[in-house]
Amino acid sequence: MDKRIIYKNDDGTISIIIPANCGLTVEQIAQKDVPTGKSYKIVNVSEISSDRTFRNAWTIDDAQLTDGVGE
C-alpha cells in the first residue's frame, strides 16, 4: 500500500503503521491496529521521510490527527 497511518504515543513519540495487503482497507487497518482511543492520520508514503537518522525525535501536532480514532 502507498499509505501510512500515523498516531502519537503517550510519551510524545509517533508510530507509523505500514499496512499489509491482507484484504482490509487502510481505514479498516487503522481502526484495527491503532491503539484504542488514539487519534490517527492517514498520509501518502511519500510524506514520510526516508531519512531515519533522528527517527525517535519525530513528532506530530495533535491537531493533524484528524482521520479517526483507533478502536
Binding site: I5, N9, T13, S15, I16, I17, I18, P19, A20, N21, C22, G23, L24, I29, K32, D33, V45, I48, S50, D51, R52, R55, N56
Partner: protein, 251 residues
C-alpha cells in the same frame, strides 16, 4: 418378437390392493391418490360396488354412499394405479436422471482407490494425509509417518530501514514502526492465546554495517499478545534499524 420403436425395459406390473379396517363411517383414506371412482374396484363383503353410485373417490379420499359396519370386510383394487417396477437397463442411467445432491456417502464404496479434482490430485499409494477426530491435519511429506502438522499462522518479511516497507506477508494486517529498530507486527486474525512460537531473523549484506540482534522488549508488557507482537533490534543497548526482517509465528 420384433418391436416397433424402443425395446421396453424389463419390468412387471401389478394392481395394488388395499384392505380397510371398517367402522361405522362413510369416509376412508386411500393409500394412493386416484382421479375418480372409476379408478377403483371396491368390494364390500366380497360384493363389487358400482363406482360413482355406491362410492366416490378423489385424491386419497374415498366416500361411501352408505356407512359400513365394523363387521364388514372391505377392500379395493387400484385399476388406474397400477404399480410398475422398472429396472433400467445396465449403463443407462445418466446424470440427468439423478436428483442434484441425491447421491449420499452411504452409496459410495470407500475408500476410494483414486481421487482427483480441480485442486487435488491424489497419487499416493498409502495413507499420506489425514484429518483426525480432533480436526488436526496430519501428513507425511517426508516426515516418515503421517503426523500432525503445526502451521505457520502468520509471517512477514519487511525492510525496517529508509522507507519502511513490507515485502510480503501472511495473516499480517500491518507493521508498526515505533521508532529506530522497534517494530510491532499486527495480526490480521488473532491467535487463540499467546503460547505461539515466534521465529525472528534479521539479515543484511556483508559490509553494510551492524544491523543488530533481534531482542524482545520485555519491559513492554504488550510485547506479545494474541493480536500483535513487538520486537526491537539492538546493538548493545542501542536500537538500530534492520533492512531484512523475517518473522514467522507457529501455533
Amino acid at each position: 418378437m420384433a418391436y416397433i420403436g424402443n425395446i421396453p425395459a424389463e419390468k412387471y406390473s401389478a394392481f395394488q390392493k388395499q384392505d380397510f379396517t371398517t367402522s361405522a363411517t362413510t369416509s376412508y383414506t386411500l393409500d394412493n391418490p386416484v382421479a375418480n371412482a372409476n379408478e377403483l374396484a371396491l368390494f364390500i363383503n366380497f360384493v363389487r360396488q358400482e363406482p360413482t353410485t355406491a362410492y366416490s373417490a378423489s385424491g386419497t379420499s374415498l366416500t361411501l354412499t352408505s356407512a359400513t359396519a365394523s363387521s364388514d370386510d372391505m377392500y379395493c383394487v387400484y385399476l388406474g394405479k397400477a404399480v410398475q417396477t422398472v429396472n433400467p437397463p445396465n449403463a443407462s442411467v445418466g446424470a440427468s436422471q439423478l436428483v442434484d445432491g441425491s447421491v449420499t456417502s452411504a452409496k459410495i464404496n470407500y475408500p476410494l482407490t483414486t481421487f482427483s479434482s480441480t485442486g487435488i490430485d491424489d497419487n499416493a499409494s498409502a495413507n499420506a494425509l489425514t484429518i483426525d477426530s480432533s480436526s488436526n491435519l496430519q501428513f507425511n511429506s517426508g516426515f516418515g509417518s503421517v503426523a500432525t502438522a503445526y502451521g505457520v499462522r502468520a509471517w512477514v518479511n519487511f525492510n525496517g530501514t529508509g522507507t519502511v516497507a513490507i515485502q510480503d506477508s501472511g495473516n499480517v494486517s500491518s507493521v508498526t514502526d515505533n521508532g529506530t529498530g522497534e517494530y510491532t507486527i499486527n495480526f490480521a486474525s488473532n491467535f487463540p492465546d499467546v503460547n505461539y512460537c515466534h521465529l525472528v531473523g534479521g539479515s543484511q549484506g556483508v559490509g553494510v554495517g551492524n544491523n543488530g540482534l533481534p531482542v524482545l522488549n520485555l519491559n513492554n508488557a504488550s510485547y506479545k499478545s494474541v493480536s500483535s507482537f513487538r520486537l526491537m533490534f539492538a546493538v548493545g543497548n542501542t536500537t538500530t534499524d534492520n533492512s531484512d526482517i523475517n518473522l514467522a509465528f507457529v501455533r
